[in-house]
């Protein structure tokens, strides 16, 4: 499920070892990821690092995975296609970009992937929580990833 977009151009900034060589952007394939993607692209360009675009398909609870095998398979394939379209911008900038799609619980899969892939930085979108509305956002993916992820996290507003 991992694919790598090859590019002929060398990364723009492969000069010196800097922080955050491997950046992961978890995307939910909505238009809300735009800012996080743009920030990640800028950061990766500056340091010529590797980027992984990661998408998790949430498993329907209470149904054995076997029953929905082809359903998930189709979802994975269409998500892959959309992720690769998003990844094109990175590849065009001469960056090493990968896409990965998993099925499971989004926060858990993201945290697991950061460990497996030795990710140095997770870039995620986050919404500003209004002052009178602090309860909102407690169960969000970014909140859970923030607690359990061992690597630095950049939350973009």
């Amino acid at each position: 499920m991992t694919r790598r977009a090859r590019s002929t151009a060398r990364p723009a900034a492969a000069r010196r070892p800097v922080l955050f060589r491997h950046i992961m952007v978890p995307v939910d394939l909505s238009d809300r990821n735009e800012r996080a993607l743009r920030t990640a692209l800028d950061l990766a360009r500056e340091r010529g690092g590797r980027t992984t675009l990661f998408h998790v398909i949430e498993r329907v609870p209470g149904i054995a995975p076997g029953e929905l095998g082809t359903f998930y398979q189709r979802l994975v394939e269409s998500s892959e296609r959309r992720l690769r379209r998003t990844a094109r911008k990175f590849a065009e900038s001469g960056l090493d970009v990968r896409t990965e799609v998993r099925v499971g619980d989004p926060p858990a899969e993201i945290v697991r992937a950061t460990l497996r892939e030795r990710v140095d930085l997770v870039v995620m979108g986050s919404h500003k929580v209004r002052r009178g509305d602090r309860q909102r956002g407690w169960g969000t993916t970014s909140y859970k990833v923030g607690i359990f992820c061992q690597c630095p996290i950049l939350l973009v507003k």
Binding site: R47, S126, Q150
Partner: protein, 168 residues
Amino acid sequence: MAFKHVLVPTDLSEPGNHAVRYAVEEAALHQARVTLLHVLSPATRTDVYYVTGAPASGSHGFDPVAGGNLGVPSSVQPTVVRDDDSEAALTQLQDLMANARPGTSDVQVAVGHPADTIVRVALERNADLIVMSTHGRTGLQHVLLGSVAEKVVRLAPCAVLTVKYKRD
């Protein structure tokens, strides 16, 4: 979109200072300004001690045995010793920034509740990135102790980079 002004709040503990390195390196890459911030609780006090040397007997002042001119003020000026939390914090902040590029960083001590004050300073200073450590507590400990970083993440007007502190 390069970051132009990085705000780094620290509680001056070892985990708190852990993020400073990341911030300074990130800022150097972006040619950004760095502001190091420490927030003191509103209960912070300043102790001022006036230490006065005893006047030499017989010269001025009243001596109960020898007598003398009552009411003449002592010419010895008291030494003022200040024990000020905010000054101590400023010194510590300056020490932390000792090896940042000169002219690109400053330090600030503010008074208030940590998370709210960090967000306020970020707004005032137009910071576009806040870099801060999280102590890395999970589970029940996390729920009980809460986290300033978490509150900042929720309320911040700009991007927030959280760096987990690992004791190694």
